[in-house]
Symmetry: D2
Subunit: 309 residues, 4 copies
C-alpha cells in the first residue's frame, strides 16, 4: 500500500511531540516535511522543539521549516506556557536540536512540495501558515488532499468558554482555511477529550525505549495542567488524534457540517460555530469529527510509539 | 407556608401557555400579574394569548399588561411561527380573550408591584421588558427576589447553532439583565432538553378537564416542529421548567457561574457564554441550571395541570 | 404667534446651561419640562444643576424630572469632568438647588406631556431617555413634532477621533432614536464648531445681570478645555445651537441624509456615519445641519441671555 | 543624486496608470519592479493592465509580478467597475500586453529585492500584498525605507461614507501594515481630492505624444464617474500623488499621527481612524498627508508625462 504523504504543521507542544512521534513510527505515512508556527510557545522555541523531537526518533532527513511568528491580523501575544511550560516542551530532558531549520519559509516549503504531488496537510497548531499558503498560492489548493485540522470544538472551548486554543490564537487564519475550497477535517475537543491517555498507559511506555521514555516524561508534566482544570490526570492527546486520523480514518466518525469561525472581538472570538442541528442554510464546509474509538486510538498511539527504537 | 409572589413575563407560545397553567394550578405561587413581550409572535397576539390561557383556568382577576413590541436596540423582526404557528398558540381551539390588557405598560405594572413588596420575576420570553424595568428603575432591583430566566444554553442553541431563541431575539436586553445586580437564575436548553414531555403523557391529560385537553392539543401541534428538527415527538416544555423552579427548587441543580451575553453581530450573536470550566476571571453572575430531575418535573407538570377544573 | 412647546432633555454641563437660559429667555418657546440624563456628570449632579440653572432665571414652575443614570446597554462609566469640572458646572458660584426633582421618571413625564399634545424634544445629552421613551411608548412617536438632537459629527469627533460625546456615551440609544419613525434633526460638531462664543462676547454679558454674569463665569471655566485641545479660547456652545434651531430654523441649513450609528466596539464606536455623498442606498432618516449663520446665532444667544433680569 | 529605488504595487486602474507613467518618466526614481493586486479589477485584468501601461512607456525590462487575487480574510468580491470600467482601464485603445508576468509571486519578488537593498514600497491598491510580505518576512521590514500608501481618509470616504476604496477592500491587510514597525506614509482622500486634474490639463497632454494621449483618453473616461458623484469633471489622481511624494516630498505636508484601521463589520468598516486632534493615547504610527501643493503636483504630473516620447 502506498504511503500517504503528509506535512505536519505544528507548535510543539506536548501533544504535538506525541503526534510527530506517532507519525514517524507509522508506515502508513510519509512525513514529507515538518513546518512550525508560533502557538504553544514562540516560533524559535517550537522550531527547536520540532527538531528535538525528530532527533528523538532519529529522523534527521525530514526537512523542517519555520513559518509565521504571530497571527495573521491581530497579535494575540500569548503562549500556552501554563500548559506546556517555559520551553514549550517541559518535562523530558532533551538535548539541543541537532540542526537549524531550512533556509526557506514554511509556506514556500509547503508550496514547493505541493507543486510536486498531492499532499495531506496536518496542521496541529494555529492555522496561520495554512492561511498564508492559501492566500499566496490559491492555485495549489487543488493539490491538497485534505487539511486535517486539530482545532475547534462543537461544545466548550479550553482557552475561553467558547474557543479552543489553536483557533483562538488566529481566528482570521482559521476562517480563511475553513472557507477555502480545500477539504477540511476538523478534529476538535469533542473527540480529543474523549480519547484520553492515562498516567498508567503513559508510564508503561517508559520501558519501551528512548521515545517511550520521552513520552512518559511529557505526560508527567502535561497531566499537571489537566489535573488542575479538569480534575483528573488522564490527558487528551489532541494533535496525535489528527495524525491517527491520517493513519486510520476508521478511528473517528466524521459528519459533513457547516463550520463558521467567530472572528468578532466578543466573548465567542475564535469559536468554531458548528451547525450540528442544521439550523442555518450554510452548506457543509468541513468533515467534523463527532465520535471516536478511544481505545483503538490509545492502542495505536502507545503501540506505535513503543515500537520506536 | 406563605406563597411566593411572582410576575410571569411571557410570549405565549405553547410552552408559555403550559408555564402559565402550571403556575395557576400551584398553591406555592401567587401570580401577581402576567406581562407580555413580543417574541414567539407579535405583541398583540401574545397578549391575547396570555389572556386566553388565563381564561382557560378561569383566572380573571390576574392583571395582564402588554410591554415591548420589539427588541431594545436591533429590530430582529422575526417571530417563531415555524414553531408556534400563525397565532403563536396554534393547536387548541380557544375562544377570543375575555378582556383587554390593563391600560398600563408592563414595565410600569412591574414597577408598581415591586414598590409594594419583594417579588420573583419569571421571564420566559425575550428579556426586553426586564431590561427596560432595570433601565428605568434601577432602585427597584433590590426588591427583586430572583429573576428566573428561561433562556440561553451552555451547549448548542436552537435558533442558531450558538443561540437560544429568547436571548437571541434581544441579546442587548439579556446583557443588561445578566449584568444587573439582581439575582439571576438561568434555565437553559441544557436542562429543558433533558426534561421532555412525551406524546403519551400529554395525551393522558386530555381526559382530566378543559386545561388538560388544551395542553394535549398544544402538544399535538408543538411536537411537529421537534419531530422535524430533533427526530422525536417528545418536546421540551422550556418555560414551564422556570415556573417549576419557583415552585420546587430541588427539581433543578444550579451552579454559580459567569454568563456573558454575545452582543456582537457575528455567528455567536445571542449566545450565553457560560464559563463552566472557569477559564476566565469573570465572577459568577448567575445561578445556571446544569442538571434536572426530569421525572419529578414531568410529574409535577402533569399532576398540577390535570388538577385544574 | 403660538409658542413652540418643547421639552429639553439635558445633562448640564456648561453648554446645557446656556441652552436652558436661551430657551427660558425666548418668547418663541414654551419650556414644558426639563428632564435630565447622566452624561457630563452623574445623574444626581446634572439634575441638581438643571434646577440651579432654572433658579438663575427664576423659573420655578417648570417641572424637572430625572431620567437614566447610565447608558442603555453598555455602562460607559465615564463623565466629562475634564470639560465640565467636578460639579458638571464648574465656574460660577451657584447656590444649591431650590427644590427636588419631580417624583416621576423623566420618560414618564415626557410620555404624560406627549399624550396631551404634540411636542418638540430637544435632547442635548446622551439619548438614553429618548430611546427609553420610544421603547416604552412607540405609539407616542406620532406626537413628537421633532427631535432636535445635539450630537454627532459628519467630520471628526471630540471624545474620540470618530465620535462626539453625546452619541459616544450611548450609541445604542442613539441608534434607536435615529432609526425611529420620528423626525430627527442632527446638530453636530460640524456646525457647533463653526459658531463659537468668544471670550469678549461672553465677558460682555457680565454686566447685563445675574444670568449674564453666570454665563460669563461658565465661559471662563469652559474655555480652558478648548484652549488646551483646539488652541483658542473661543468655545462652541453646542447645546444652545439646538435650542436656537427651535427658536429660528433659518440659523441652520439642514439636508436630509442617512445617518447610521456605529454600535460596534471598534475605533468608530459612537460615530454618526452620515452619507453626505450618497454612497449607500440607505434612505435619509435625519435632517442634518450642514451650515450655520454663526453671527446670527451668537447675536441671538447673547441678546436673549442679556435680556434675562 | 542617487535614484530612489521603488516597487509600485498597484491595481490599474486609471490613476494607477498615471502613477506608473509618472514614475517611469521621473529620473528621481528607479522602478525596481511593478507588482499587482486585485482591487479595481480582477488580478488577471490589473496585471495585464500594468504591463500594457509599461508598454506605453516602452518599459520592457521592469519585472511585473502578480500577487493576491482577493483580500486576506474576508472576500469582498467587489471590483470598482463603475469607476474604472469593464477592463479596469476603459478609455484608451491599448494593445494587448507584450508579455506575461514573471513566474514568481509578487510577495516573493518584493522579498527578493528587499534582501538586496533598502527599498521604498508604493502600494496604490488594496494592501493585501504588503500585509502578506510583512506576515511572511517580518525580518525584511527593516529594509523597507517607507511604505507610501495611497489609501484612507481623515474625512469622508469614497466607497462608503466612512471608507476609501483601497483600505475598504482589505481592512485586515491595512491593519497589519499600519501596525507594523515599518515607516508608513498615508496619502488619503484629504489631499488627493484637493489636487485635481482638470479636463483642460488632461486634454492638453493629448498632443505631447503616445503617453500623453493615453492619459487624455484615461481622463476622458474617468471623469464621468466624478461628474456624477461630485458634480464636476476635474478628477483626483490619487495614486499619482503617492508617486509624486516619492519624487518630491515637499509637495505634501505630513504630520505624525495615530491611524487605527476599523476592521469591524459595522458602518465604519475600512475607515482609517486618524487621531488628528490627539484625543486618544495611541502613539503616532504614520505620517499622514494633511496638505498638498496642488499646482506643483499637477505641473509635475503633466510635465513629466508630457516628456515621455
Ligand atoms: Ca499543537
Ligand atoms: Ca416563551
Ligand atoms: Ca449636554
Ligand atoms: Ca489603485
Amino acid at each position: 500500500m502506498p504511503k500517504t504523504p503528509v506535512i505536519i504543521d505544528c507548535d510543539p507542544g506536548h501533544d504535538d511531540a506525541m503526534a510527530l512521534l506517532l507519525a514517524l513510527a507509522s508506515p502508513e505515512l510519509e512525513v514529507v516535511a515538518v513546518t512550525t508556527v508560533a502557538g504553544n510557545q514562540t516560533l524559535e522555541k517550537v522550531t527547536a522543539n520540532a527538531i528535538r523531537v525528530l532527533d528523538v526518533a532519529g529522523a534527521r532527513d525530514i526537512p523542517v521549516a519555520a513559518g509565521a511568528g504571530r497571527p495573521l491580523v491581530h497579535d494575540t501575544a500569548r503562549v500556552a506556557d501554563e500548559v506546556h511550560g517555559e520551553t514549550g516542551l517541559d518535562g523530558p530532558d532533551l538535548p539541543p536540536p541537532s540542526r537549524e531549520p531550512e533556509a526557506i519559509h514554511a509556506v514556500e516549503l509547503m508550496a514547493r512540495e505541493l507543486r510536486k504531488r498531492p499532499l495531506t496537510l496536518i496542521p496541529v497548531g494555529p492555522l496561520t501558515n495554512i492561511a498564508l499558503l492559501i492566500a499566496m498560492y490559491p492555485e495549489l489548493v487543488e493539490n491538497i488532499e485534505d487539511i486535517i485540522v486539530m482545532g475547534g470544538a462543537i461544545g466548550l472551548g479550553n482557552v475561553t468558554p467558547s474557543a479552543e486554543f489553536n483557533v483562538w490564537v488566529d481566528p482570521e487564519a482559521a476562517k480563511r482555511v475553513f472557507e477555502s475550497d480545500a477539504d477540511v477535517t476538523m478534529i476538535g475537543l469533542d473527540v480529543t477529550h474523549r480519547a484520553m491517555l492515562s498516567a498508567e498507559r503513559a508510564e508503561a511506555l517508559r520501558e519501551t525505549g528512548r521515545a517511550g521514555a520521552v513520552v512518559a516524561d511529557l505526560h508527567a508534566f502535561y497531566r499537571r495542567f489537566h489535573l488542575e482544570v479538569y480534575g483528573h490526570d488522564d490527558t487528551p492527546v489532541h494533535d496525535a488524534l489528527a495524525v491517527a486520523h491520517a493513519i486510520d480514518p476508521s478511528i473517528l466518525h466524521t459528519t459533513q457540517l457547516s463550520v463558521e469561525i467567530d472572528v468578532t472581538h466578543g466573548p465567542a472570538r475564535g469559536r468554531t460555530v458548528v451547525d450540528q442541528l442544521r439550523r442555518t442554510d450554510r452548506p457543509a464546509n468541513a468533515h467534523v469529527a463527532v465520535d471516536v474509538d478511544a481505545e483503538r486510538f490509545i492502542d495505536l498511539l502507545t503501540t506505535r510509539i513503543g515500537s520506536l527504537a
